[in-house]
């Protein structure tokens, strides 16, 4: 690294390559971190695990599962050999994200090498730590442009004793209202996703409830009794745009998974959603990821196309013929942002000029010669 800094040699930090398409393409000398692997420290009662960046995510998750624990942000692997480093660098989180938190929320500490070749440690292995700037969380989602991740300490949580998935026939507009209502009640909800209708299947809302068996069963009963139906939406912003009164009608399926790490149908559904392997994702073509306030109404009018709602409505996957400008404009109007995923990689929403300047200055502070994954996040970053 020090040599690369001295020679201004650009480096492409590489793991298993599972997330090549999660950012922009980088052409530079590869720096392979897959050999830097292994768990450094894990005391289950501390709820903290520290592992090297090259550790396969699968291995990490099995070690946690042996102690009945898990990574609460349910990270997408996006490939067989996905590493911890790539997962944290890309900052990706799965279906549990709106209810448990994101990759950055569980990152407690990191050891990195910055663009000057200096070995630095930030944060630590404790839950609460406000000594110095939170550089560890800054690394999450920075895609290796600020430092090479060496070790990462993460907060972990116990696995739920029981999981239960409800599948309900419902259109998207009603699903958004339902998911919003459910999120306003203290329920053990850990995932909520809506699939658009296909030629074989009507549109459906999937809800996952997790926790102690008694609590999960009570929540299932609560939802099935449609107690929510009587609750008027107290929405100020969207009151006039409420869709027609289509309340939940049929409860088609219930999938109960009580065995830990069970491999039932419901488990497979959530895993395939997390890994973007559901049929919705399989046909090629441009895919948009819209990150929006969860109660944002359906985009049908402004953005025609098929839309899958995840994260209780806060993450929406859109297949559309609408122009990139139209998609970005419609998303920004909600207070969110859109990322285009295509065969070349991921194109995030452009930054405002003042934010772009800030980003360049932050980059300079860590990597003055611009040798770390140049251009991976944005041009010039």
């Amino acid at each position: 690294m020090q040599q690369a800094f001295a020679e201004k040699q650009a480096l492409r930090i590489s793991g298993s390559g599972s997330k090549l398409l999660s950012g922009r393409a980088v052409s530079a000398l590869p720096l392979d971190i897959t050999m830097h692997q292994g768990i450094v420290e894990y005391v289950p009662t501390e709820l903290v695990i520290t592992a090297r960046a090259g550790t396969p995510l699968q291995e990490l998750e099995s070690v946690l599962a042996e102690s009945g624990q898990m990574l609460p942000f349910e990270p997408p692997h996006l490939g067989e050999g996905a590493t911890l480093g790539g997962t944290i660098a890309c900052g990706l989180s799965g279906p549990r994200r709106p209810y448990a938190g994101a990759a950055r929320d569980f990152t407690l500490g990191t050891r990195i090498i910055n663009g000057r070749g200096e070995l630095l440690r930030f944060g630590g292995q404790v839950m609460k730590n406000v000594a110095g700037y939170d550089v560890s969380r800054l690394m999450v989602g920075a895609q290796g442009t600020l430092g090479v991740l060496l070790d990462i300490s993460l907060k972990v949580l116990p696995q739920p004793a029981c999981e239960h998935t409800l599948v309900i026939d419902m259109d998207a507009a009603t699903a958004i209202i339902t998911m919003t209502q459910l999120a306003n009640v203290a329920l053990p909800l850990t995932a909520a996703c809506h699939l658009p209708a296909t030629s074989q299947q009507t549109a459906q809302l999937y809800l996952r409830l997790s926790g102690a068996k008694e609590a999960v069963m009570a929540a299932v009963a609560f939802i099935k009794n449609k107690k929510l139906k009587n609750k008027k939406l107290k929405n100020r912003k969207f009151r006039n745009k409420e869709p027609e009164n289509k309340q939940p009608t049929t409860f088609v399926t219930e999938n109960v998974t009580e065995k830990k790490n069970g491999d039932g149908q419901a488990c497979a559904f959530w895993r395939d959603l997390r890994e973007r392997r559901l049929p919705f994702f399989t046909d090629a073509g441009a895919l948009w990821r819209l990150s929006v306030p969860p109660a944002t109404p359906v985009f049908h009018e402004t953005l025609p196309g098929e839309c899958l709602l995840d994260w209780g409505g806060a993450q929406r996957w859109l297949k559309t013929d609408a122009s990139a400008d139209a998609v970005r404009a419609a998303t920004e109007k909600t207070g969110g942002h859109a990322t285009l995923l295509n065969q070349h990689g991921a194109v995030p929403a452009p930054l405002s000029p003042v934010l772009a300047t800030m980003h360049r200055q932050v980059k300079m502070a860590f990597d003055p010669e611009g040798i770390l994954n140049p251009g991976r996040l944005y041009e010039g970053l």
Binding site: V126, M127, K128, G132, D134, T334, L351
Partner: protein
């Protein structure tokens, strides 16, 4: 000579500020500036050059532009409840109070968030949304007084952090004004934002990177049921084991607090919470969730506590008793204040399994320095608050207390912990930063500050020590005949 040039500068600034601020919003007379001379850590005091109280973001921008132009340092201040001297003014600097930014701007029930000005009190947010069955989770013990802007600047915690996280986990978006007067938005109304996670970087940055002028906080639905258990132990190690076993049992309590005997006795004398005064340690365990969840967990926790050798386990029989259990813990600081003329609150965080070792170390230090200590401990997340009892009117006792506090923090770092869990570094723990971080790490932090504040005018001298300063501290430690971390590079 210096005083003269300062008063010329002050007069110049007053003229400039009064062009857009009301006369009552620019405080220059000594008696007007006096109330701002310290924050919650009152052992450090300094009169600011001037105090300004703008009301609009545009006014904040103008103040900062002028200060940038005249190279005048600025310290932002919220409610001034901070415990590390982060809002301690500078003699040659402007104190920027955000007290007038006290409005809740918008409550979005659908998306469960609220847009508030930085001077809004922490508890006022929960109160404003209570009727909708929502609340704002982080609850630092100063929550009736502390403001949300300060909470963000310090990444404030509270007793419910283990389950509900810190400030950084509970905010969505910030509006910031840079030292150069530029306004920018970081984060978004969605769950994430493109680019670097500047939201995380700004949270806990102690007013060093920008001035927070608006905060969007997340709101959570109130749990359906809450229950509190109180367990007494005749041994601190047993109490510590119980904490580990509760968590190993797959239970994440909403709050898990420990107090040692001196803290128990002080709290009981003050709050009459019904604590067993002969116990060596007590644990308070709050469980929340659905009715069913809480019932199941209360049973499990009760069993674990008994298995770990608790001499007494009580489950609050009513909401009143629950409040009573908490009352003692929440009154622990003022209660200790009553039994001692002064106390000094530390804030180290340690890996929980090191608890026994650290408590032993603290007891040894207490003897060495002849200063009693009462321990209050956020046991769930490893955040220790040893309270060193002293009398500032006795010559040399404050210095001895600070020296002992420093040793406690060194001990926390040595066992893999950190010098501050939730109170911030401020001016108070600046020396200990030299022990926790290497010179390259500190330099990286300075470079990061320069990215936002190249002239170094925002809250200079706080949070991150200069290498020069570390060298001086290093020398002082050698003088005491001990270098805590000989492997660290010294300047």
């Amino acid at each position: 000579m210096q005083a003269e040039s300062q008063s010329v500068l002050a007069n110049q600034l007053v003229t400039l500020f009064r062009q857009f601020l009301a006369a009552g919003s620019v405080l220059s007379r000594e008696e007007e500036r006096r109330p701002y001379e310290c924050d919650g850590l009152s052992v450090y005091r300094q009169l600011p050059l001037l105090v300004v109280l703008p009301e609009t973001v545009e006014q904040v921008q103008q103040v900062l532009r002028i200060c940038s132009e005249y190279k005048v340092p600025v310290v932002a201040r919220g409610a001034g409840t901070g415990l590390s001297g982060g809002a301690l003014p500078l003699a040659d600097g402007v104190l920027l109070s955000l007290a007038k930014f006290s409005r809740i701007l918008d409550i979005d029930l659908q998306n469960r968030c609220a847009r508030v000005q930085p001077g809004v009190r922490n508890l006022a947010i929960s109160e404003a949304v209570a009727a909708h069955n929502l609340y704002y989770a982080p609850d630092p013990s100063s929550q009736i007084a502390c403001s949300i802007g300060g909470n963000v600047a310090e990444n404030a915690g509270g007793v419910h952090c283990l389950k509900y996280g810190l400030t950084v986990h509970n905010i969505l978006k910030l509006e910031i004004v840079t030292m150069e007067g530029e306004r920018l938005t970081i984060g978004s109304d969605a769950l994430d934002a493109p680019g670097f996670d500047l939201l995380a970087l700004f949270t806990g940055s102690e007013g060093m990177l920008g001035v927070i002028v608006e905060v969007t906080v997340k709101l959570l639905p109130k749990p359906e049921a809450v229950q509190v258990l109180l367990a007494a132990f005749d041994d601190v190690v047993k109490a510590g084991d119980a904490v580990g076993k509760i968590i190993a049992g797959g239970i994440i309590p909403a709050g898990l607090e420990m107090m040692d005997n001196p803290a128990i006795r002080a709290a009981e004398a003050f709050a009459r919470a019904g604590y067993p005064e002969d116990a060596v340690a007590i644990l308070l365990c709050e469980l929340d969730g659905s009715q069913q969840d809480v019932e199941v967990q209360v049973g499990q926790v009760k069993m674990i506590l008994q298995d770990c050798g608790a001499t007494d386990v009580r489950v609050a029989a009513s909401a009143t008793e629950r409040e009573k259990f908490w009352k003692g813990r929440k009154a622990a600081f003022p209660a200790v204040g009553r039994i001692s003329p002064d106390y000094y609150c530390m804030d180290g965080t340690i890996p929980r399994h090191q608890l026994a070792k650290v408590l032993e170390g603290i007891a040894a230090l207490s003897e060495e320095y002849s200063l009693p200590v009462a321990n209050v401990f956020h046991a769930g997340d490893g955040n220790l608050h040893p309270l060193i009892l002293f009398d500032a009117s006795r010559p040399g006792e404050l210095e001895r207390t600070e020296a002992m506090g420093g040793r406690i923090l060194d001990l926390c770092v040595a066992v893999g912990g950190t010098i501050t869990g939730e109170h911030g570094v401020g001016i108070e723990k600046i020396e200990q930063m030299c022990h926790q971080f290497s010179s390259a790490e500190l330099q990286q932090m300075h470079a990061l500050k320069a990215a936002f504040d190249p002239a170094g005018l925002l809250n200079p001298g706080k949070a991150v020590p200069t290498l020069h300063r570390c060298a001086e501290f290093g020398a002082m430690h050698v003088h005491h005949g001990e270098v805590p971390f000989p492997e660290l590079e010294r300047f």
